[in-house]
């Protein structure tokens, strides 16, 4: 059953990795504007697409 020590260690490390990822996202401003990107993604640039072809 001592494998549990190892498993818990792994799970805590994984959770810490996610926590630090969240901290990084927050610090780098990814959560500052949660609305505009949802609109921006719907706007395609049709004219340039035509030029590419």
């Amino acid at each position: 059953m001592s494998i549990i020590y190892f498993l818990i260690g792994c799970s805590v490390l994984l959770a810490l990795a996610f926590l630090s990822a969240f901290f990084w996202a927050q610090r780098s401003g990814q959560n500052d504007d949660l609305y505009t990107p949802s609109v921006r993604i719907l706007l395609d640039d049709e004219q340039e697409a035509v030029e590419d072809k």
């Binding site: 059953m1 549990i4 805590v12 959770a15 901290f23 504007d33 609305y35 505009t36 706007l43 049709e46």
Partner: protein
């Protein structure tokens, strides 16, 4: 949200049927709307490529976009543009290094970063266009919109394009930034640096892991698994550390500072609960006497912080803290010996001569020296009909010149003008919030005292048995920790806030809901508040045939005078006849010939060469071929729902404060019941003093006002509501902003606020019930960690679901959903 993509341009058919000019229908053309902004087109003068525009400005924007191949702008939404009726492009002041330095976020030789507030940002087309600024000028490296804040962040090369050119470009494409001295943007972007989101993340992380590690304990561990139990216990303590010392630390700080000020607020029992939970957990794990309450502790901190987060609702696009500085322009043109020069208005000195062009705001009290002044004081008084001023007259700051350019001499510095001196009043320097105490503040005082008494009593009861006594003492503090109580207010209030929000009523923060429920006196401003400013009621006294209407329409459509424009709107979209010999006499009226008819429109002096003596109501007299036909009157229309406001008189004391003379007294008597409750000819200072007087009579006053002249009264009252027809435009500092369209819902809002407070009371009772159940276990000293771990989230979940469901039901009942 207006994000439906409707493909292709859309123009209503436009044709005239000219069969019989005397038939009524025949002279009405089909209504066309401007391709750019969606306003009704009054003329067919502005047309390109079969697209109709209402004015030169809109047409110009279209041309610029067409030249840059950016007409897709019109494909995402119908009529996405701002109306460009006003044509005034004056940004010379942006070349002044001093002003520029204030506005930019960062600048060096290669790169300047600036954030601009653009009120018109409203749809996907705006995002599409403004993020393509690079196509207009390659010197703009980067442009990004924050849609909810209505802000545009631009990075550009200052060597190739100046800030002024950038702003002019934005202006040209129909997105004029609002640049003011009181830079709202910087304040809004400087969010409170308390890392609340990070602290929630840490608390959530700890909570999840602790739950995972506590679960085996709930299910029971066999004897040979005891080593795991100790291991889990130590890990739990480890996870509690960041939850207590990072996430929950503010509760200790706040409790300490409140104790120092001899105030018992809800943070004290919360901090006590957290401390006791932590100490007991550590002791139990170290002494191997139990599993501790790590799960309850982390859950408590997590839920409390989530409650805090919910409470902190902000409207990024609305500013509640504006003062006169954000209303006045940044700079004004001063006439010096070497010509004109833009000067920041703070540096404006008495005796300087200033030049104001069409549509500029008068920044300081000044004497008119030259030109025809036709001043629109609508931001100040709410009166939309411009006032004419004669040479040598003092013009108070805050008015907007609507006629040609004028020259003025400053007689008072900006900070001491008639309107701005209000801000030197003590009301505005008052820092603390001595407004009404919230329910939470009142209750938590007694709650804390009762809690401490019960805890100490249970300790004393078990006294010879120290261990049992301490166990009971700590258990009481743990179980009675007012988590649900602390959450009931933020969750109810934020639910209420979003309901108000949907009904176009924006509250500054959650505490305002309670203030709204507590008031007993309402004071209204008249002009602009209970009357609709933009929407003057045009009345026609006399009878006009269709042909005469057409004659008058044709003449008036040549004039830019606001009254002429209102007459055109009133007469509707008629066919324009050719006008010759057109002459506009400033301050008097217009004369012209249409076909064989001679038309005179204007005041008594123009038509009869004498004044009719009535200066009160604005009148425009009409004369065709020397025959007097009657006159137009311009009166302000009351907002819809004034009758419903009158019904408020049963529950509240209603007062009226008006800057106007009392010629509408009789009509308003039906609303305000008693003549002595209506005060006319009130100066801004009088309004403020009146509110102060009501306070001395122990009234809890809500002031409803709109203009700068109400600013003092709004601030002085317990609850100041600014009524505005465009929430993005200027409104004076206040606690809540009410969109003019929702004015008739005010009685519902007040009743709903009262219901919300009742919901908070009920949820307080619910959380008390949970506390009592928990206490019955706790005083025996036999509180198991599992009971605590179940009770706490259960009570929290009950409170949150009760408050949100109850608020929803009440809102439905009040027709607010």
């Amino acid at each position: 949200m207006p994000f439906i993509v409707i493909p292709g341009p859309y123009i209503k058919p436009h044709f005239w049927i000219i069969e019989n000019i005397k038939m009524t229908r025949s002279i009405l053309s089909e209504k066309t709307v401007c391709y750019h902004c969606g306003e009704t087109c009054l003329t067919t003068r502005y047309t390109i490529a079969e697209k109709q525009f209402c004015c030169q400005g809109c047409k110009a924007v279209y041309t610029i976009l067409a030249d840059n191949n950016l007409c897709n702008y019109y494909n995402f939404n119908d009529h996405p543009g701002a109306n460009r009726n006003r044509l005034d492009k004056r940004f010379q002041y942006l070349d002044e290094p001093g002003i520029m330095k204030e506005l930019v976020d960062y600048t060096d030789d290669q790169l300047t970063i600036v954030t601009l507030y653009i009120p018109h940002i409203h749809c996907s087309s705006c995002i599409w266009l403004l993020e393509k600024l690079n196509k207009f000028n390659p010197a703009i490296y980067y442009s990004r919109i924050d849609f909810l804040k209505k802000q545009l962040n631009v990075k550009f090369n200052p060597a190739a394009i100046s800030l002024r050119e950038l702003v002019e470009l934005l202006y040209d494409i129909g997105y004029e930034p609002l640049i003011s001295l009181q830079d709202v943007i910087k304040k809004q972007n400087a969010e409170p640096k308390d890392n609340l989101v990070q602290r929630i993340a840490v608390a959530g992380f700890c909570f999840g892991n602790v739950m995972l590690l506590s679960f085996p304990e709930y299910l029971g561990l066999s004897a040979f698994e005891q080593s795991f139990k100790h291991f889990f216990g130590w890990l739990n303590i480890l996870f509690c550390m960041p939850a207590v010392f990072y996430s929950g630390w503010e509760y200790f700080n706040s409790a300490y500072s409140n104790l120092k000020n001899r105030v018992l607020n809800i943070d004290f029992p919360l901090a006590l609960g957290i401390a006791v939970l932590f100490l007991r957990t550590v002791t139990e794990v170290i002494t191997h006497t139990g599993a501790g309450f790590a799960d309850t502790l982390c859950g408590l901190v997590f839920f409390l912080l989530v409650g805090k987060f919910v409470q902190r609702k902000t409207y990024h696009h609305i500013s509640f803290e504006r003062d006169y500085r954000s209303f006045f322009p940044v700079a004004v043109q001063v006439i010096t010996d070497n010509g004109e020069k833009p000067v920041p208005i703070a540096e404006l000195k008495v005796g300087q001569r200033i030049l104001l062009r069409h549509n500029e705001i008068i920044p300081a009290d000044a004497i008119l020296l030259k030109g025809e002044a036709l001043i629109d004081f609508s931001f100040v008084t709410g009166e939309s009909v411009p006032v004419s001023k004669t040479l040598g007259e003092i013009i108070y700051a805050g008015g907007r010149q609507t006629s040609e350019a004028i020259e003025l001499e400053v007689v008072k510095p900006v900070s001491q003008s008639y309107l701005t001196q209000l801000w030197n009043n003590e009301v505005f320097t008052r820092s603390g919030n001595n407004r009404m105490e919230t329910f939470n503040q009142r209750v938590s005082k007694y709650f804390t005292i009762v809690l401490l008494v019960i805890a100490i009593a249970s300790l004393l009861v078990w006294l010879p048995n120290w261990q049992r006594g301490l166990a009971a003492f700590t258990a009481v503090l743990i179980v009675a920790c007012p988590c649900a109580l602390a959450l009931s207010t933020p969750f109810t209030m934020s639910a209420a806030l979003s309901i108000f929000d949907k009904n176009l009523f924006y509250l500054k923060n959650t505490a305002v809901v309670e203030q709204l429920a507590g008031i007993n006196t309402i004071v209204f401003d008249k002009t602009g508040t209970i009357t609709a400013p933009a929407d003057s009621h045009v009345g026609l006294n006399g009878y006009l045939t269709d042909h005469q209407k057409q004659l008058i329409y044709s003449v008036c459509s040549n004039s830019n005078h606001p009254l002429s424009r209102m007459i055109c709107h009133y007469l509707g979209n008629l066919e324009k006849l050719p006008v010759v010999n057109y002459r506009e006499v400033a301050g008097m009226g217009i004369m012209a010939s249409v076909g064989s008819h001679e038309v005179k429109i204007g005041g008594g002096r123009l038509l009869f060469h004498k004044d009719d003596g009535e200066a009160d109501a604005t009148k425009v007299l009409l004369m065709v071929d020397g025959v007097y036909l009657g006159y137009f009157t311009f009166r302000q229309r009351y907002r819809n729902g004034l009758k419903r406001i009158a019904q408020l008189g049963d529950d509240y004391k209603l007062f009226l404060l008006s800057g106007d003379s009392n010629h509408e007294k009789d009509e308003l008597l039906s609303v305000f019941k008693q003549a002595e409750r209506m005060n006319f000819n009130q100066s801004p200072q009088d309004k403020l003093d009146f509110i102060r007087l009501l306070h001395q009579m122990n009234a809890r006053v809500m002031m409803v006002g709109d203009g700068l002249n109400d600013a003092g009264a709004l601030k002085q009252s317990d609850l100041g509501i600014a009524v505005t027809d465009n929430v993005n435009n200027f409104s004076p500092g206040c606690d809540a902003i009410l969109d003019g369209r929702a004015f008739d819902k005010l009685p519902q809002f007040l009743r709903f606020a009262k219901n919300t407070v009742s919901i908070i009371h009920i949820s307080f009772l619910i959380s008390l019930t949970y506390n009592l159940i928990g206490l019955s276990y706790a005083i025996t000293g036999l509180l198991s960690p599992l009971t605590a771990a179940v009770l706490m989230p259960l009570s929290t979940a009950t409170i949150i679901s009760f408050t949100s469901i109850a608020t929803h039901i009440v809102a439905k009942k009040r027709n607010l959903l």
